[in-house]
Every structure is written in C-alpha cells, then in structure tokens.
Amino acid sequence: MKTRIIAKLDVKPPCVVKPVHFEGLRKVGLPSDLAKKYYEQGADEVIYIDIVASLYQREILYDCIEETANELFIPFGVGGGVKTIEDFSKLFHAGADKVIINTYAVQEAPQIIKKASQIFGRQAVVVNIEAKKWDNYWECFTDCGRIQSGKDVLEWAKEVEELGAGEIILQSVDTDGRQRGFDIELAKKVVQAVNIPVIISSGAGSLSDIKKLIQEAKPSGIALASLLHYDTLSISEIKEYLFENAIEVD
C-alpha cells in the first residue's frame, strides 16, 4: 500500500505559519490558498491545526475551516482546542472529515476519545502526539511543545488506540521544522506499538529522508509542512519519486 502524502497546515488565524521547534512563527500564506495548491499537487489529505486555539483557550475559528474545506475533494483533518463532543460535531459540519485532538485528551480527559469514537466512528477520531525525546524515552507534550504531560509516548499511543482513536499523528518536538530528517527510532516504535495507522510528521528535508522513513518505519502516512511551504519539493515530485522507485509499505 502506498504511504499517504499529507500536507499539514499549522494555522494561527488567519495565516498558515511555520514554527521552528514549535517556536518563532513565520507566516507562509492563507490556509485556503495553500490547501488548494497542495490539492492540485496531488496531496492525499490535508491536515489543518489551529496551533493557538488551545493555548489561548478560545474556540477554533470555523469560517477559516469552511473556506479551506471548499474545493477540497480529499480528506480534511482539523484540530486545535477540541474539548467537547459538540466541538467534534461543529468541525464535521464545517467540513472536517476527521477531528484531531491532543491537549484536552492528554491533560484532562482521555475518555473524550472513547466517547467521540462511539459517536462518530473511530476512523474520524485522530490523536495528535507531540513527542520530546529524553535519555531513554519520549514524553508527550502539548500546546505546540510548550507543556509537559509526564506521559510516556508509547504508553499513551497504546492507550489512545484502546480508547478508540482511529489514527495517530506523531510529531517530534526535537526534529520539527528543522528539515534535517525524522526521528526514525521514535516513528518505528510507535508504528510497531499500535495496530491503527500512524502518520509521521516533523523533519522531512529531502527525498531521501522520506524514503528512509518509509522503508525503516513503515508509516501509513507522512505529514509535510516546511518542505512544502518553502517549495523545497512539491507533492507531485515526491509521489513521482516514490512511484519510480517502487517505495511503498508492504
């Protein structure tokens, strides 16, 4: 099966921004424009994360999401500050196909995952994990790498699967935005720890980084941000490369 190539938009409304190590934001454009651009390049999915909703404790901005969902005939995952079943519901109605949750589930009430999955089906419930590497384990962070949770990433990955999450997006606080390669060891461990699809994010800088990740960690998908935002590579170039070299997960 081919690894999904996913464009990730980190949004600080109204703009997509590119945090480096989750800090130092740079504006890169409007989410609707970028979503359209990546759709035309052949993205398998688009992910939209309001990176400040949780931190500022405000509701995600629905207009911005509706506008981005427009003309996007591929799956659209949305997250940022999600806390209640009503939030899930509103996001689906605004055009999301999957809802992404992190902070509230990690810090306050993991049971929201179970509840949401019973109502919306597990395929629509995605858990975002921000991992930070310590000497011999990875810890879950929230709020864009600002807040520690004390939770072990591998334990948490298994827990969210058990609770009913349909998919995990794995980000690395250490490699995010640097474009110097993925944390392959982390990716491998999380992919092996669970039986649900895992999307790996944070660190792609070149075609060989992507090839190495697919061959060694066998993820279901790869989420790309900086690499696309700075036009280092386009999704069509990546897909062509993977196709020509017959790189897929078997």
């Binding site: 099966m1 081919k2 999904r4 398998d44 509706e66 969902a69 427009n70 003309e71 005939f73 591929i74 799956p75 659209f76 079943i85 519901s89 689906f92 109605h93 605004a94 055009g95 999301a96 196909d97 999957k98 999955s117 019973q118 109502i119 919306f120 089906g121 597990r122 395929q123 629509a124 349909g166 998919e167 039986n195 649900i196 699809p197 895992v198 279901s220 998908g221």
Partner: protein
C-alpha cells in the same frame, strides 16, 4: 432532469457539507433531508457516512426519518456512502448488535486483516460486473476510511484488496447502490462517480 438529491441529515454525525459540495461540483442540486416531508422534494437519495452503525440507526430513529427512509429507498435511486452503505444491511456489529435498514441481505463486521485498521487511504477498486455507477472509472483509486466491512455475496459490484484481504467495496441491488469508499473525498474519480449517479 432528475437531479435533485436529498442528503440524509443524521443529527450529530454525518459529513453532509463535504457530500453537498461534491454533489454540486458534479452538477446536482442538493436538499438536506431533516424531516420526512423533505423526501417529497427530491428525486434521489444519498445516505452519507461518518459515524458508527448503532449511533446512525439511533439518530435515524430519533429524527423520525427511519420509517419514511425505508419506504423512500424502495422508490428512488439511493446511494449509501461508507456507513451509509453499511446500514442498508440487515445487521451491524459495531458497539453491540444493531438492526440496519435491512434492504440488502448482508452483515457488517469488523475487518479482520493482518494490517493496520482502520483501512485509510486511496486504494484500487476492482469492478467485477458492469455497473452504470462505474462507467468510465473502472480502474480508478478511491479514498477509504473504515474499520468495518459489509459481508455480502450476491450484490457485489466491486472488491478491494487491503494487504491480501479482499472485501466488498461496492454493491448494487435494483435502484440501491452502496460504496464503502468516499466519492466526495476521491478527487475527480469520485466526482465522476457522483456524476454517474446523477445520470441514472
């Protein structure tokens, strides 16, 4: 033209917005079905597909749509998408055992496969018999997003292979159609499938 499509609204679940957009892109007019009276305004029906089997049936019952939907789908061309296809079956086993609409003799069970579940992503659809729904799009990939599958032997239009496990990816019985994948999320191939449905 018989192109007014009613999309069933099931309350909290459902991805109505995406389906509506895709249908409009395909050239259809959309009416959202909220009450039994709305059925009189439409020529065809789409049952959308985000949610769990028992929640969907419960919502249909609560919204008073269940009885009229059962009658309407006997008269009008109907397309069930993902969960919308699944609930055409007799029984579902997602979070307990739930009775479906019972118009296709099938059961809905969790996928058993030596691979990651849910099955998510673009995958090939192997069309086994001629169907107007797949006219001109027989060799395309469509987007799947599910962990349950319809087990049926008599109404199959297509199968899909997921790591060696073949499952039913579309069905047809008379005027009833069901697709396990999401045409509204499958780029041009999906829009073309909706065009085919509009042209029925």
């Amino acid at each position: 033209m018989n192109n007014i499509i009613g999309v069933i609204n099931y309350g909290v679940s459902g991805n109505i917005y995406s389906i509506k957009k895709a249908l409009e892109k395909a050239g259809g007019l959309v009416v959202i079905i909220n009450t039994p009276d709305d059925f009189s305004k439409v020529d065809k029906i789409i049952i959308p597909g985000v949610g769990s089997f028992n929640d969907a049936m419960l919502e249909l019952e609560n919204s008073q749509l269940l009885m009229s939907l059962k009658i309407e789908i006997k008269k009008k061309s109907t397309l069930g998408i993902c969960l919308g296809m699944q609930i055409l079956s007799t029984l579902g086993f997602e979070y307990g055992t739930t009775k479906g609409l019972g118009v296709i003799s099938a059961e809905v069970k969790e996928m058993v496969v030596d691979a990651k579940v849910p099955h998510m992503g673009f995958n090939k659809v192997e069309v086994l018999r001629n169907s107007a729904l797949f006219q001109g799009i027989e060799n395309e990939e469509f987007y799947f997003m599910h962990s349950y599958e319809v087990v049926n032997y008599t109404n199959i239009i297509s199968l899909t292979d997921y790591f060696g496990h073949k499952f039913v990816s579309s069905i047809q019985k008379d005027n009833l159609y069901g697709v396990q994948f999401h045409p509204e999320k499958s780029r041009d191939a999906g829009i073309n499938l909706l065009k085919n449905f509009l042209a029925l």
